[in-house]
């Protein structure tokens, strides 16, 4: 009795709160989270610029050529006299005009990088919106119903898994009409297999748990049990999958756009790399360098976060820590 009274009850913590606490245990994780947030804000700003210029029916500034300032190096790497207007600007003004230089048509590299971030986020999010529902739905159905349904789903995903990845994406993108839509469909329709497999496995495990059997005894419908009872318990897989597939999708888009099958007319990172590659041979290093760094930091942050989230969300590790 006295023992019970003195025992402190663990403070209630929400699921997300607990996850964040575990994530925040590593300084590097927090830093990567901050980087991802910063990229997200840049992407939102890029979206704003994009829609503002579309609403005003104007060519966006990042796409307007200005031959007068072509191949301008980044502001730290050029002398102040070589300024745009011919008038000697203040140091601050000098620093802020084309801070990352311009490309072969005199377009500002920084603005184009921000647009590239916007497109990368679109690709990451839209392809996830295609792939994750397919994977979750098929995985739940296969795991829950078993039997013929399971056989059918396993057949579909083993077929998809057999087809060489990049070629499959390229083929879909080619058929869907080369462009933005082709990229989304190509990546979205081919990358649900891994998630489907994981969800199926977990659902099979959960199906035998007492809480599911209780729900069945109560006479709840299969759909309700699957999506309201089991799915929240396996949802951590979806979150981890999202953080892992996001950078992968961005990387694939870069390759598709570079090959000329992806984005057209908009400065996606792949398009920028493809332009910058030719300039590189003439010693124009800045566009290539900055695109490389932009992709590197985004993908690195997502990779680190994905690993950390996998540990933070793993139910087995959670139970260990509370016991």
């Amino acid at each position: 009795m006295t023992e019970l009274a003195t025992q402190e009850l663990p403070q209630h913590q929400s699921w997300w709160g607990e996850t964040f606490r575990r994530l925040a245990a590593g300084k590097l994780n927090l830093f990567c989270l901050a980087v991802v947030v910063a990229y997200t804000m840049l992407a939102c700003y890029g979206e704003y610029v994009y829609f503002a210029s579309r609403a005003a029916d104007k060519t966006p500034t990042y796409n307007i050529p200005d031959i007068g300032v072509k191949y301008l190096p980044p502001s730290l790497f050029r002398s102040r006299t070589a300024a745009v207007e011919g008038v000697k600007p203040t140091a601050w003004e000098h620093f802020l005009t084309h801070p990352l230089g311009t490309d072969g048509l005199g377009r500002d590299v920084l603005q184009r990088l921000i647009q590239g971030t916007r497109i990368a986020f679109r690709v990451g999010i839209i392809t996830s919106l295609i792939a994750i529902p397919i994977g979750v739905l098929l995985g739940c159905l296969a795991g829950y119903f078993g039997g013929r349904v399971d056989d059918f789903v396993v057949w579909i995903y083993s077929t998809f898994a057999s087809i060489p990845g990049l070629l499959f994406i390229l083929a879909i993108a080619m058929i869907a009409g080369q462009g933005e839509k082709g990229v989304y469909l190509g990546i979205g329709l081919t990358t649900w297999v891994g998630l489907c497999r994981l969800i199926r496995g977990e659902v099979i495990k959960h199906k035998e748990r007492p809480y599911v059997q209780a729900a069945r005894v109560l006479g709840l419908s299969s759909g309700r049990i699957m999506f309201r009872h089991i799915l929240p318990n396996v949802f951590h897989i979806v979150i981890v999958t999202f953080t892992i597939r996001f950078p992968a999708a961005v990387g694939t888009e870069v390759i598709l756009s570079f090959l000329g099958i992806g984005m057209k007319g908009e400065p996606s990172w792949g398009v920028m790399i493809s332009n910058a590659r030719l300039q590189l041979w003439q010693g124009i290093w800045w566009e290539m360098t900055f695109v490389t760094l932009a992709i590197f930091f985004l993908v690195l942050s997502f990779n680190v976060l994905g690993d950390a989230l996998r540990d933070a969300l793993d139910p087995r590790l959670r139970e260990d820590s509370t016991s």
Binding site: W155, I163, P164, V254, I255, I261, F296, V299
Partner: protein, 457 residues
Amino acid sequence: MLRYIIRRFLQMIPTVIGVIIVTFILFNLAGGSQARSALGERASVEALEEYDEIRGFNRPLLFGWWTRTRALEDTSFEHNAGFWRDVKGAAHYPPEGKLASRVHLKPGLMYEIPLAFDLREDASYRLRIRYRTAPNSTSAVVVKTRTGVDGTAGTEERETRAKMNPSAKWQKVDTLIESEENVASRSFFVEVGGTDIEVESISLRRRMDSPWHSQFTFYLLQIAHFDFGVSSSTNQRVSDLLRAGIGPSLALTIPIFVVGLFASVSLSLVCAFFRNRFVDRFFVVVAVGLMSINYLIFIIAGQYLLAYRWELFPVWGFESWRYLTLPVLIGVVSGLGSSLRFYRTIMLDEMYRDYVRTAFAKGAGKKNVLFKHVLKNAMVPILTNIVIAIPFLYTGSLLLETFFGIPGLGYLAINAINSSDVDVIRAIVLIGSILFVVANLITDISYAAVDPRVKLP
């Protein structure tokens, strides 16, 4: 064992069928008109028809007697008159109070259906017209469609009449040209009697010899004969192109695979040996860093810095083994990050097993345990990974081959995609998938040979 192999082999069949269906859906069903994108917007109708004929695209999709022909593309007259503009005496305007317009034909005139090219002599054709009388007309109407020279009376004439009461109901009239008919000019004429008619659509269909002569059976027969068609850009047989490409591809991918495997397994052993010490941490950081660099960047940076600036390697080409060294190096380094992490996890998993503790307990040295016990047991997942990777050796490396001008299958695939060369891509995708399925089969059978538990159903 034999029973297991047979059972496992039978399980493979549905996947192969699935791959065939997916490639069929991808290239025949979803693709729409591949002929246009392959031959360009300016290609003549005859060229497009020939393209479809070679690839079986001018057949019914799955099953059926009738198939479209490019001699007369299906036109809906709602928005424009289409080919009907060129027909004398026909008018195209919307009926009163309606937005959608129709083609109107007047009585007393003979209209020739404009065909893009002469119809084939060995096939039967059917012309179907959907029409109705103009809403305000009251008299009876006769629609005649004729075939033959000028549609004039004579031995070559053939007439189909469709009578109807004046009403606003849609009617159809069919005319046939049989394949045996020996007519000088295989063309169709329409003649209207009585009153104006309003035409909704005109369609021409070719009759197949058998309803089974479909795109799908054509594709299956192609696969059965190991015939993958003809490249539309180079006009070479796809099987010849594949045969020429496989050598250079393997010359590139096998060294990448072997060197990469050796490097990542030995580094992972080093990591396991120094677990949680500086060396291990260092390699983990390097691995995550390498994984975060885009594949393209490895290639561009390697080609620019190592080959162009520092002139250590040839920049481009495929003449001797020296031309392969840089692509192989890039391939190894770019793949090192993820495989190092993968093998390190496997090694560390093994490190916690009971037998390792026993080995340590009996006094075996760390090096001894690592190489004699851990590596041997880790061989199973490593081997799985190897066998699964083998089919991907065949497709080569799309990007490396393109950048360094290595005439392998990856180079072929990229060119084919850029020129919408359906047969080539389809063949590469299909063969790659089937090799993957076969590799899976081999893995499972070799598992069963080693471990009897696998054979249990």
